[in-house]
């Protein structure tokens, strides 16, 4: 089973988390043209190999995480918080 090292809760089984999406997807401005919305909502890179993706620790602290994972071997290379301001705060307190 995949285990993800949550920055708050420690190493937990994948079944506590839910997969989000490829992390490079950013949603355009509300008044952006249809094509950029189409790209963000429907198109996927679907990387074979190493990619950065989002996961939520649904059955834990509920934070959104950025996980760098190999989609073929499932090896995880890094985990960090998705919200950058939280990353800074954690650094301050620790």
């Amino acid at each position: 089973m995949i285990q993800i090292e949550c920055p708050f809760c420690g190493k937990r089984d994948q079944s506590e988390f839910s997969y989000g999406r490829e992390s490079q997807i950013t949603f355009p401005a509300l008044n952006a043209d249809e094509n950029s919305w189409y790209d963000a909502v429907f198109l996927r890179k679907n990387t074979y190999g190493r990619q950065i993706e989002t996961w939520q620790h649904t059955h834990g602290c509920r934070s959104w995480l950025l996980v760098e994972r190999d989609t073929v071997t499932h090896k995880i290379f890094s985990v960090k918080l998705a919200h950058t301001d939280w990353q800074k705060q954690i650094k301050k307190t620790t």
């Binding site: 089973m1 995949i2 189409y38 429907f42 198109l43 890179k45 996961w55 989609t71 073929v72 499932h74």
Partner: protein, 426 residues
């Protein structure tokens, strides 16, 4: 040169009984790839093989190759739960899967190969009066569009399938079911071998262990494919590589697709005496489970995808647990049955749960992809309509909305109404 294949017939079975089974020929050749073909199909799964077969049979085309990176029957062709049905509801899907079911009904004769198609009924269980109303809607649509369907009450189910959990205190008591009697199962290996043998007999080169490593694209045209067995040029190139579609799409430098690769697991138990005569589907309250019994006696079943993107052909444990829980909820008598094997295949999950069969931004490239959970049952019609698309260079009326641009037009073909999240289209 096509191989002289011994025809399967009662006479040949009898004759070979007397001569020590020495009169059978090889099932298909193992040709070296030629440097040039009229049509190259990438992907020797059920869809690629069926496409080659119907190109040769329906359109009398020659000089066709199927290139397969592994071996015939080694990918998703051998990694499914072998269920065949046509209980789809939306325009396009409805006619397509019904045509597929009709092809299944005569497939063994057509291919001269016993695909062991068993029309044993497909039973979808419903657990509330309102769910049964929605089943009745599907029943009406199926009956109105030339298919068969029945609604079975709980009393009838108790008589026909005695081992299900009919307890009054079940978390989701069984209320009734939608039944398609012409649906059932087939032997998946036999389908792969049958199509390969029949296509080979019509002159198609089936080239195994041949992986496409690069695509030579010049503007709007692909000139040739680089493979680990040399360069192959072709007038038309067709992709039927569901699971790995995005990889080839990137090789051709075509950008992103409305597809994510996920893995779907399937399971088989130790062989048991006859227990379950039908295919039974249980889907309520987040559960998703389908089960049938193979001719060898093993119970074959599956559930949801693994919920995260993956190209690994092996499953994870939480789904094993989910599926086991569903099995026990539905058939408590399976409590002490041992699991024999489980496996996983990579499926193209699309943004609306429906497939793609269309022309592409490249003039001589055709796409067959995005089969979600539904690839096995679709194989005959997939080959049929894909061959039609390649031969005539235009989609038939049935599949004209199964193109990549449909999301831009707002034409989703979303059977479950789940929205644009690939993992929700189970």
């Amino acid at each position: 040169m096509a191989l002289q294949v011994t025809r399967f017939s009662a006479w040949n079975v009898l004759k070979n009984g007397f001569i020590g089974q020495s009169g059978w020929s090889r099932q298909w050749r193992d040709p070296e790839p030629k440097s040039k073909y009229d049509i190259v199909i990438v992907g020797g799964g059920l869809h690629g093989l069926a496409t080659a077969y119907y190109l040769a049979k329906n359109f009398d085309l020659k000089n066709i190759a199927v290139v397969e990176k592994g071996w015939i029957g080694g990918g998703n062709a051998g990694r499914n739960t072998t269920i065949v049905r046509s209980n789809y509801m939306l325009k396009g899907n409805r006619e397509f899967y019904e045509h597929s079911l009709k092809l299944w009904e005569n497939l063994s004769h057509d291919l001269n190969y016993n695909v062991m198609f068993s029309q044993r009924s497909h039973i979808t269980l419903y657990h509330t009066p309102s769910a049964l109303d929605s089943a009745a809607r599907r029943y009406n649509i199926m009956r109105q569009t030339g298919s068969d369907a029945e609604i079975w009450s709980r009393a009838k189910l108790e008589k026909k399938i005695p081992h299900l959990n009919y307890a009054k205190n079940a978390r989701f008591p069984i209320y009734g079911s939608l039944v398609q009697k012409r649906a059932g199962t087939a032997r998946h290996d036999a389908v792969a071998w049958g199509y390969a043998r029949a296509a080979d007999k019509l002159g198609v080169d089936i080239i195994q262990k041949c992986e496409v490593t690069a695509i030579d694209r010049k503007g709007q045209k692909i000139n040739s494919l680089q493979t680990n067995r040399g360069k192959i040029s072709a007038k038309k190139i067709a992709l039927a590589v569901a699971g790995n579609t995005s990889r080839l799409w990137h090789l051709a430098n075509l950008g992103n697709l409305p597809i994510e690769s996920h893995k779907l697991q399937a399971f088989v138990t130790e062989p048991l005496k006859p227990l379950l005569d039908q295919v039974v589907v249980f889907g309520v309250g987040g559960a998703h489970f389908y089960i049938s019994q193979s001719d060898k006696g093993g119970l074959v079943f599956g559930g949801d995808i693994d919920w995260y993107k993956s190209y690994a052909q092996r499953g994870n444990l939480p789904i094993v647990q989910d599926v086991a829980e569903s099995a026990i909820s539905l058939m408590p008598c399976l409590g002490r049955v041992k699991l024999l094997r489980h496996w996983s295949g990579i499926v193209d999950m699309s943004m609306d749960g429906s497939f793609f069969m269309c022309k592409t931004p490249i003039d001589n490239l055709y796409l067959n992809a995005g089969w979600n959970y539904g690839g096995f049952k679709a194989s005959p019609a997939s080959g049929w309509y894909f061959a039609d698309l390649i031969a005539n260079d235009r989609p038939s009326e049935i599949i004209k909305n199964h193109d990549l641009e449909r999301f831009k037009r707002g034409h989703y073909i979303d059977e479950s109404g789940a929205g644009p999240d690939t993992k929700l289209h189970g």
